[in-house]
């Protein structure tokens, strides 16, 4: 239990560190004022107040008036506070569920996330499910007869899969299944639940195939190591059938490294679907964050980063819990 608490503490620290860095970088690298007010922000108000710059009324406004707007905006977004203080304020808002308002369309960031997150979650969920359903039986079969025909073919296939970048995999699947054979739609079809799922099959597969190959390689290696352990010999000496030994004795102790990688991958997935969403035009968080970054929509960027990092933290916590379920040796007080 203490171990878990320690991990929670550590992960909360990570969460703080990452958001702090993001917060600082979006505020330092880009000028938030410019992002909100556009060219208006470049008016030099000290000079205006000092009377060094004349009032310009030709563009339907005055620099005096501009300066008022600037001052108001600064106050509204707390831009006059020092950076750390603004971070704490922002953090406080986040904690109460207030993600701020998008600079672009004035929608609350939480609404943006609420609209986009479910699609991405569904995509990631389907991808993970597929990758597990493919990799575990695959690894069991190839480890059972290691270095035999099936295993050798598997090795070639998984090496091949690992060498296909996900965008290339996406383009290939897109070409064959959507463009050429037209089994799946070329665009995301939100009309009903069935069509939504159908639209996500290809992107989920794009996500799942390289992952499945990764997990298969890892699990196979560990299974082969486990199969050389004495307790597997012992199980055979007890006369238990091969299937029982593979599934009930060898599988569980071989899951640890695959679990670790699974945790890291899954956490990274929410941020890794960007490209895939782009290719299959899935209206998820990926597209949203790309747009937000390009348009310097700071609150949206920050909001989505918070979601992604939280997901990473939570998934890794779950992985830690899984460890202690899988391995009684970790279950210490």
């Amino acid at each position: 239990m203490r171990y878990i608490l320690q991990r929670i503490g550590q992960l909360v620290m990570v969460l703080l560190a990452v958001t702090a860095i993001t917060f600082a970088s979006v505020n330092v690298l880009g000028d938030p004022l410019t992002n909100i007010l556009g060219p208006l922000a470049s008016v030099d108000c000290t000079d205006v107040e000092a009377g060094l710059v004349e009032d310009i009324s030709t563009r339907g406004g005055t620099s005096q008036g501009d300066c008022e707007v600037i001052a108001l905006t600064r106050a509204e977004f707390n831009l006059d506070d020092p950076l750390p203080q603004r971070y704490v304020t922002w953090l406080g808002d986040i904690a109460t569920g207030d993600f701020g308002t998008s600079f672009q369309n004035q929608l609350p960031v939480s609404t943006v996330i609420k609209n986009k997150l479910p699609v991405t979650l569904r995509l990631v969920g389907m991808g993970l499910f597929l990758s597990i359903m493919i990799s575990i039986p695959w690894a069991l079969l190839s480890a059972y007869r290691a270095n035999r025909a099936f295993d050798n073919v598997s090795t070639v296939v998984s090496f091949g899969l690992l060498a296909v970048p996900n965008f290339a995999m996406g383009v290939i699947l897109f070409y064959f299944f959507a463009v050429r054979w037209q089994i799946f739609p070329t665009r995301y079809d939100p009309s009903n639940a069935y069509s939504q799922i159908k639209s996500l099959v290809l992107p989920a597969l794009t996500l799942a195939l390289p992952l499945a190959a990764t997990y298969q390689r890892l699990l196979r290696t560990d299974l082969i190591t486990t199969l050389q352990e004495d307790f597997v010999h012992m199980a055979r000496a007890k006369g238990l059938p091969s299937r029982t030994i593979m599934v009930r004795h060898a599988l569980r102790p071989s899951m640890f490294s695959v679990l670790t990688v699974f945790g890291i991958n899954t956490g990274a997935l929410l941020g890794g679907t960007l490209v895939i969403e782009q290719i299959f035009s899935v209206p998820g968080m990926g597209g949203e964050i790309v747009t937000a970054i390009v348009r310097d929509d700071t609150p949206v960027v920050l909001g989505i980063v918070v979601i992604i990092v939280t997901a990473f933290v939570v998934v890794n916590l779950l992985v830690d819990l899984m460890y202690s379920i899988l391995d009684p040796r970790v279950r210490r007080g």
């Binding site: 004495d230 307790f231 055979r236 000496a237 007890k238 006369g239 009930r248 102790p253 899988l326 009684p328």
Partner: protein, 353 residues
Amino acid sequence: MAEPLLTVRDLSVRFPTTRGVVQAVNGVEFDLEEGQTIGIVGESGSGKSVTAKTLMNLLPRSAEIEGEVTFDGRDVREIAAKGEDHFWGVQMTMVFQDPMTSLNPVKRCGEQIAETLRYHLGHDKKKAISESIDLLERVGIPEPAKRERQYPHELSGGLRQRVVIAMALACQPRLLIADEPTTAVDVTVQKLLLDLLDDLRKERQMSMILITHDLGVARGRCDEVAVMYAGRIVERADSHTLFSDSRHPYTDALLRSIPRIEQPSHTRLDPIPGRPPELINPPVRCAYAPRCRFAQRNCLEEIPDVSGVVGMHSFACHYPANTERGEAALQSNLDRGETAGGLHLHAVAEGAS
């Protein structure tokens, strides 16, 4: 005399590897009567564990096995080929060296015993668990009901090995192969475990093959002892004869080289020169010859046959120790100023020319 429980005839095991063929076991033969214990003694790489694993059908598929193994009149290799259920684990079973690694770390101790009972005897879960607790009690584990619920890492080394023994004996096998069962535990615990195995063996009229590198263990616990070197049994006799009147120069030298408790301190040891040979593509010769004090030219050219002295004592050597013939060979080596190493050099030079 009744038919022996186990007969092994001309057993050879080879492993093809990228470095060549490893000749791990070579022409091993022995019989084992019902209720008898035979010890197989040898250093690492001598082929003793491979022999055991061959009997248990535990070798990797790549192993090339030749020879005949009969258990209770049935061909064991045929049973293996047919994939017969309820033979291993029921008729014959095995205990391994390291009790930590021979228990599945993620399963409760009781569960690991119970699954054997459930599979072979068809017990339901409840009955299997209660019988497991009885077994744990029988092998001298205190608080068996509590231990049943524990995981292997929560037990000490000695207790773990007792769990392994309980697990192996769950289905009342007629033959137990114990591969270095006490190497990983301390001497005081070793004694208790060996005593336990003795008790159980007598109680159940069980036969046992005890594999060990410890000459002391073999002497004290076995009716008969076979010494293995480089994949062959080089000498076999009842344990008293073997240790008091050894014939094979290897056995003889081994007994001389180990420090003894009754010798005064700083007694100069008499080591065996060199080290055991590699088993990849071994040359045709007595494998021990290059290290042997008695070796003559012909030892480097032919493999000695197994010959018997009296009754059960057999050995494979041209110039056995503690015989006139052997003494003469040794004397002639000493006269020529040639030790084992000199002889070997000689042979290498000849082979090169």
